[in-house]
C-alpha cells in the first residue's frame, strides 16, 4: 500500500497535489469541487489589496497543433473583497478538515497591514499561509508581488513581519524573474519561513497578431508582459526547484510548481526535492478531473518501483546534479541505429549533416516488401566519427530505433576540474589535443 500523504513545513495533506493560487482557487465553490474530485490541498487565490481586472486576460502558445503549450495571464490577485474570501476559506476548511487549505496573501509593504491580514487569516482556521512575492504584472508596479520577490532584503523583511505573528506555517512563493533564485530563497529562510513555493510565473509577451499587429492578447489595442506558466516552463521550474533543494543554506520544504500537468511531472519534481506539487495550467485546460490520473498514476508507479511513501523518493535524484566541471570527460557514447526499426525518415541524417558533425551516411539498401523489392535510403552512423552528441537520438521519431551505446569501459575517468589540476595553466589547445589523442578522442 502506497502512502501519498505529505507534511510540507507543517501543512499536511492526504496527497501531494495542491491547486496553485490562481483562477481555479478563486472561490469556495471551486475549491470544494476540487476537493470532491480528490485534490489534496488548495492555495487560495491571493487575497489582499483592492484590484480590478481587465478583459482578455489570457494568452497561450500552441505548438504543432497542440493547444496551450504555455499559458500567460495578466489577471490580478482576487478581485473579491478580503472579507468574502476569508469567510469562504473558513467555510471550506470546516467542510474539508483533512485537506490543506492555504491562504495566499499580498498586501502593501507595511508591517501593521501584514500583521492585520495574517491575524484575520489565522482566524479562518486554514492550514497555512503562502506569501505571494511572485506576481510579475499589475501588482509589482504597485510595489507588491515580484517587486518584493526580486529584492532579497524586502523578501526577508516582509517574511519576518508575517512569521513574527503567525501561529500557522508560512510558505514564501518565489518569482523566477531573478538572476539567481537562491538569493530570495535564502532571504525567505532568514525571515523564518517554514517552506518555499516556486516558481511563480515568468515574464513573457505571448505574441503579435500578424493581421492587427497588436500584441496577443490585446486589451483594446494594448497589451504587455504577463506571467507565463504551463508545460513549457517545467524545465525552468525543475532547475530552480533543484537549486533551492541543494542549497546548503536553505534546507526548507518545497512546494513545487511550474508546468506540472501529469503524475510524471509531479514525480520528477518530488525526485528533485519537492514535498508538495502545485498545479494550475493543466486544470485551466482540462478541469479538476485530472487529479484522478495524477493520484492513480503516481500510486501505480510507486507500487511498481516498490516505493511506499513519498519520503522514499523525495530528493532521490538530487545526487545526480553536478557542476559541468565534475562531469566525466571520458564517458563515451556513440549513436547506433537499429535498422530493423528504422523507417528511413532521414531526420537523423539531416540533423547530423546540417547541425552536428556530419557522421551519418545514407546508403541505398534493398528492402523486400510483399514480394516486391524497393531501394530505400538507409541512414548509417559512422561510429568512429560520432561525437555522441545525442541530436539524432532526439530527432528520431521511432522509439528504440536510435540508442546511445556506451563505448568506454569505465576504467579511466577524468573530469574537467581534475584535468585542470593536471595540465599546466593556462590550458592550451595543444595540451588538450594531446589529452584527447591519448584517450582516442578525435575532434574533426
Amino acid at each position: 500500500m502506497v502512502d501519498l500523504s505529505i507534511n510540507c513545513g507543517g501543512i499536511r495533506s492526504p496527497n501531494p497535489f495542491w491547486l496553485a493560487s490562481a483562477p481555479p482557487t478563486n472561490s469556495a465553490y471551486q475549491v470544494c469541487k476540487a476537493f470532491e474530485a480528490g485534490w489534496g490541498g488548495a492555495v487560495w487565490k491571493t487575497i489582499g489589496e483592492p484590484v480590478m481586472n481587465v478583459f482578455n486576460r489570457y494568452g497561450a502558445v500552441d505548438y504543432n497543433g497542440q493547444k496551450i503549450l504555455g499559458l500567460n495571464n495578466i489577471e490580478l490577485i482576487s478581485d473579491r473583497p478580503i472579507e468574502t474570501n476569508l469567510k469562504e476559506i473558513a467555510e471550506t476548511k470546516k467542510l474539508w478538515p483533512d485537506r490543506a487549505v492555504i491562504a495566499s496573501l499580498m498586501v502593501e509593504s507595511k508591517r501593521e497591514t501584514w500583521h492585520d491580514i495574517v491575524k484575520r487569516t489565522i482566524d479562518t482556521g486554514c492550514d497555512g499561509i503562502e506569501l505571494n512575492y511572485g506576481c510579475p504584472h499589475g501588482m509589482s508596479e504597485r510595489g507588491m508581488g515580484a517587486a518584493v520577490g526580486q529584492v532579497p532584503e524586502y523578501c526577508a523583511m516582509i517574511t519576518e513581519w508575517v512569521t513574527e505573528v503567525s501561529t500557522i506555517p508560512v510558505l514564501v512563493k518565489l518569482t523566477p524573474n531573478v538572476g539567481d533564485i537562491r538569493f530570495p530563497g535564502r532571504a525567505a529562510k532568514k525571515g523564518k519561513a517554514n517552506g518555499i513555493s516556486l516558481i511563480n510565473t515568468i515574464n513573457t509577451i505571448m505574441g503579435v497578431n500578424l493581421d492587427t499587429l497588436e500584441l496577443q492578447p490585446s486589451v483594446g489595442g494594448k497589451g504587455g508582459h504577463g506571467g507565463y506558466a504551463g508545460p513549457a516552463v517545467k524545465p525552468i521550474a525543475l532547475n530552480m526547484v533543484s537549486q533551492i533543494a541543494i542549497d546548503p543554506e536553505i534546507k526548507l520544504p518545497i512546494s513545487a510548481m511550474g508546468g506540472v500537468s501529469t503524475w510524471r511531472d509531479a514525480a520528477e519534481f518530488i525526485l528533485l526535492g519537492a514535498t508538495s506539487v502545485q498545479v494550475c495550467t493543466a486544470v485551466m485546460h482540462y478541469g479538476f478531473r485530472i487529479i484522478d490520473d495524477m493520484v492513480e498514476g503516481l500510486t501505480n508507479w510507486m507500487e511498481e518501483k516498490g516505493y511506499r511513501s513519498l519520503d522514499d523518493i523525495r530528493g532521490k535524484s538530487l545526487k545526480c546534479i553536478a557542476d559541468f566541471g565534475d562531469l566525466n570527460l571520458l564517458y563515451k557514447t556513440t549513436a547506433r541505429i537499429d535498422e530493423s526499426k528504422c523507417i528511413q525518415c532521414n531526420l537523423c541524417y539531416i540533423a547530423c549533416e546540417d547541425s552536428a558533425h556530419q557522421c551519418i551516411d545514407i546508403n541505398p539498401k534493398e528492402k523486400h516488401n510483399n514480394g516486391s523489392v524497393l531501394t530505400i535510403n538507409q541512414p548509417k552512423i559512422r561510429e568512429d566519427d560520432c561525437v555522441g552528441c545525442r541530436l539524432c537520438f532526439i530527432v528520431c521519431p521511432v522509439e528504440g530505433c536510435i540508442s546511445m551505446v556506451r563505448k568506454d569501459d569505465g576504467s579511466v575517468t577524468m573530469t574537467w576540474n581534475e584535468l585542470m589540476k593536471q595540465l599546466p595553466q593556462p590550458v592550451t589547445w595543444e595540451a588538450l589535443r594531446q589529452f584527447q589523442a591519448k584517450h582516442g578522442i578525435e575532434i574533426h
Partner: protein, 448 residues
Amino acid sequence: MKNAALKLSPSEYEQNFAELHPAFTPNSAVAEANRCLYCFDSRCMKACPTHIDISTFIKKIATGNLKGSAKTILESNWVALTCAKACPVDVLCEGACVYNERGEEPIQIGRLQRFAMDRYFEQGMPPLFTPEPKNGKSVGIIGAGPAGLACGAELALMGYDVTIYEAKEKAGGLDTWGIAPYKMMQRDSLNEVKLVESFGVAIKTKTRVGKEISIEELQKKHNAIFVGVGLASPTRLGIPGEQLAGVVDALDFIDDVTTRKWKSIDVGKWVAVIGAGNTAIDAATEAKRLGAEQVYMIYRRSEKEMPAYEFEFELAQNDGVQFMFQTAPKRVIGKKHVEALECIRMKLGAPDKDGRRKPVPVPRSEFKLPVDMVIKSVGQNIEDSFLSQIPNLKTKNGMVVVNTKTYQTTNPKYFAGGDCINGGKEVVNAAYDGKQAAHGIDRCLFSK
C-alpha cells in the same frame, strides 16, 4: 431501354454523388499537417510519379503558408488538384509514408494536397509563376488532357507560344470527362485548365486535328508538336448483339455522369458491366448510384488477377455491386433492346505471356443473365487511324514509341506523352510525361 431504373430525387442524386473523401476543415488540415514528420528526402516524394516535394508542402500548410504550399505542389505537377482527388494514393505517396512502417495511419497526403489546391483556386489563382519573355518558338499540342496541359503550362512559362488543339467542347481530357463525381467535380479540372490558360496557353476546343485543322497546317505553324491524344475507341467485345440499344461504353457512360445531369441519364434496372479495371468499377458504382437495382461485374479471370485497385474493389462491394469472376460474356440477347447477357464460366489455364493465367471456357456452362443494360469496359484502343496520319511515327503494341528522356518520337518534330505512350496509366503519369516532354522539346529546339 427495356426496363429503365426509376429516377431518384434530386437530393438522392446529390447524396449518392457526394464526395467520398470530404475536404479537410482548416483545423483538421493543420492537425494532419502537423502529424507529418517532415522527412528529409522523403519516400512519399519518391513514390509520387511527379516527385512533388510533399513534406515541404505539408509543412507550409502547418505554418499557414498556403500560397507557398500550392506553389511547391504546382512546381512539380500542373494538375495537382485532379491528382489529389483521383490518384491511387494508397499505392503511391501514402503507401510510401513512413508512418506505415510504424504501424500507424499514413499522412493523408491526397487530402492535404487538395486542401492547399482548393484554397489556391478559391482565392482566384493568385499569380505564382511568371512566364519568361517570348523565345520566338511555337509548339502545337494535340489533346488538352493532363499530358497536354502539363506540357503546355511548362512550355508557356519557358517563353514558348503554345496552342492546344482539343476535339471536345471542354478541355481537361479524362480529368474533365472520365473521373467519377464522387471522386472529383468537373469544375476542379476546368480550374486547372484556367490556370494553364493564365500562362498564355491558347486552347482551341472543338478542334479535331485532321478535321478542323490538318496535320500539314499544324506542322507549318509550329516548331514542334506534342501528341497527348490518350487512348480513343473502346475495345469491342466482338460478340453478337453488341449493337443492341442498351449496350454502352463505360467511358461514354462516365462522361455523361460527370455532366451532373443525372436525371437525364438512362440506366437499366439490371446492369452488367464487363471488365474489372478501375474504369469498370467507376461505371458499376455510378450505375448503382444512379438507381440501378442490380449491377453485375463480369470478369474472365479471378479476383486475384483483377486490375482494379483494392480500394476501388471495396468501394464497389460496399455499393452492393455483385462480382461474377471467371465469367465471360458470350452474346447480348434482345430484339432491339438488351434483354439478357449470355455468359459462360471460365477456368484458369496456363499463364500467358504477361504471366497471368489464361482463362479458358468451361464447356456447356452457359447461362443467361437477365439485364437491361450492358456497360463495356474492356480497355481502349490507341487512336491508330489518327496516329497513322503522322509521317514516320512508330508505334509498338499501339503505343507511340518515344525516347524515354526527351519524349521525342521517331518523327523528330513530334513528341508524345500520357496514355498514348503508356497504354493507359494514371493522371499523375500523364502530368509527369507532359512536363518532361516540354523540357525535351526545349532541349531539342535549342540543341541544349
